[in-house]
Point group: C2
Chain length 420, copies 2
Amino acid sequence: MSNIAASIITIGDELLIGQVIDTNSAWIAQHLNELGIDVLRRVAVGDSRDAIIKALDEELRNAELILITGGLGPTSDDITKPLLNEYFGGTMKVNEQVLEHLKILFTKRNRPFLERNMKQAEVPDNCTVLFNKMGTAPGMWFEKDNKVIIAMPGVPFEMVSIMENEALPRLKARFASDALLHRSIITAGDGESFIAEKIRDLEESLPAHIKLAYLPGAGMVKLRLTGRAADAQKLAGELDARQKEIAERLGNIVVALQDIPMERIVGNRLKEVGKTLGLAESCTGGYIGHQLTQSPGSSRYFMGSVVSYDNEVKKNVLGVKSDTLDNYGAVSEQVVTEMAQGALRVLGTDYALAVSGVLGPDGATERVKVGTVWMAVAEKDSIKTKEFYFPFDRLRNNDMAAAMGLMMIWKFINDPDPGQ
Amino acid sequence: MSNIAASIITIGDELLIGQVIDTNSAWIAQHLNELGIDVLRRVAVGDSRDAIIKALDEELRNAELILITGGLGPTSDDITKPLLNEYFGGTMKVNEQVLEHLKILFTKRNRPFLERNMKQAEVPDNCTVLFNKMGTAPGMWFEKDNKVIIAMPGVPFEMVSIMENEALPRLKARFASDALLHRSIITAGDGESFIAEKIRDLEESLPAHIKLAYLPGAGMVKLRLTGRAADAQKLAGELDARQKEIAERLGNIVVALQDIPMERIVGNRLKEVGKTLGLAESCTGGYIGHQLTQSPGSSRYFMGSVVSYDNEVKKNVLGVKSDTLDNYGAVSEQVVTEMAQGALRVLGTDYALAVSGVLGPDGATERVKVGTVWMAVAEKDSIKTKEFYFPFDRLRNNDMAAAMGLMMIWKFINDPDPGQ
């Protein structure tokens, strides 16, 4: 029943001064998790010999698997490879496969192969090379005292490629373990404590091998059930039942039973009903279109957007009347109504969402204060409008506006009656 | 000369299973850095009593300042507050200021104040409360053996609010230290090792208190000089001189001497020349408009975008000819040319960028393989077109397309001659 304990060590001064956000750790954790490997700790240290050795010493004491990212590049701030070589008592040797790959890569990129690049083909002779087809720095697999230590470059897509093609298949073969399964319930409209109160008895009745976590996000709260057991099939059944029970109790605040972002929930709904969507975005500047098009296949339901950041574009492209803009201002129920109707007409879609607001920090007028956003969602014979107020900074207000806009579309598809 | 050593401990199972990307640590590190406080380690642990205590024990051994985020919410997966109370030997007591704030917050949100919310007003009596005006969980400032331990909720905007209003001013007052200054050089067009080779002698001649780091990104490499010294003014002069020297050596691959994203470099350039920009985005779905509008004041130069995801929108809104689409396909030099010209006309801007491509994983045709992107940038009497090929996954291809599109605009503003 005991699971494999893993640690992630990320190396790089850029992580400690906050110049780079670590997205690698989350990716690694997610994918180890699917193999039933628990990440118990993540440690970030700088490009410093002492700090790296200390982190390795400490993590090796408790973890059976250590994944290291960063510090493998060709420039002189990257010190991890020689250090690992020394730490595990190896000798640096040119690896012919890596050398061959590097030469091809440099030719393709029309770059001369320099002496310092030769160093990149050197690897410790006591590791298994994890081939990096996306870049120059190879991954390395070390073993010591029956523990596994994997080192990979910090560039996210190189790390992903090495993990997917080299590391994960080997890890799967090596570590068999308990099944670890998740179920999610995405809710919108109520706060964390309110939800917790509503399902308190259900939460308290969960067996020891199933845990519930609350993850609040922009305008939503995600509930996550995590179960762990030897019998994956039985566990899946238990989790399904618990998920259903909680979702039924929470009723109409439940938006989805899958851990997928709001734009995919909307996309899936549009596919189900066979309808198309267009946007008229002002303050969100293209963000909602960007979110919708992150999913492959979004061209089936998303036709396009008129990003009418300037009022002239609202008039000339969407046909918003000058009078309406003059009388009510760009952030008004009247303007988003005309924007939505314009988008339906110009983009030729079944549904349209229009968004106009002031995200801040500047842009307040006599009529509207910073954080005010008007939205309208329309189909041919029906329209709903709503005013929002977001009290945060520009970027978070933009996140909230996009989330609430997508939510408005989702609700409108389910119930377009303007009387509601 | 010695600086304050800080550690960041982030708490939450969601961080270890990779459901959430940790953006807090980067923010905290950046802001501590500005005070001359070095983050030496970051540790992430789960919602587990033993793991949290172990992390505290370990980090207190080496750091003088510890910042903890997460685990302070009202639901039962949040265990940090009682644990810290116990760890520092305090007693939980209702804090009247916090209680008052909570009641107002709940009234505003039209929510009943529940018994479990009462717990949120309780804080250890041996800490200084760091008031949280953005949420329900207060921050806490503990002191032990002349070390400072700060605990904050994990919700990013709440953490930011507590840091800005409560923690950073107190930290600044308490820890005086060496100045730590950075200078950046943003380059585009050459790889990391090529740049390193070009400036090898300059790098080797850097004094011990100035370090150079290479940070590769989408289509660019960022160089960062970091200096540390007691005399901030003298250090600034030294860094400026080194930055100038390196930038001159690198010549026309230098895009900016400030660590700002490409969309702001373009925005600043447009402000300098007093011109406006419009977009015709197909495959990028609104992403370039989104990036441009992340900067406050972008309405001065960004007018809008026609996100013509569907070919009908390319025809009906941008005026791309049916014949052109039929003869050359949507991903072609001819179509992006007509899209850019259409955007100039429809959006009424000085410059327009058009982007059309196949980001993958599907969408390849007989004519174009996945990863192909055509771009055109135009003004009234001049146009430049270029074909790109990105070999990555959908999201990274989108990042690359946006970065290269912004770069194309920047280059075009500087040199619109189509003969170049």
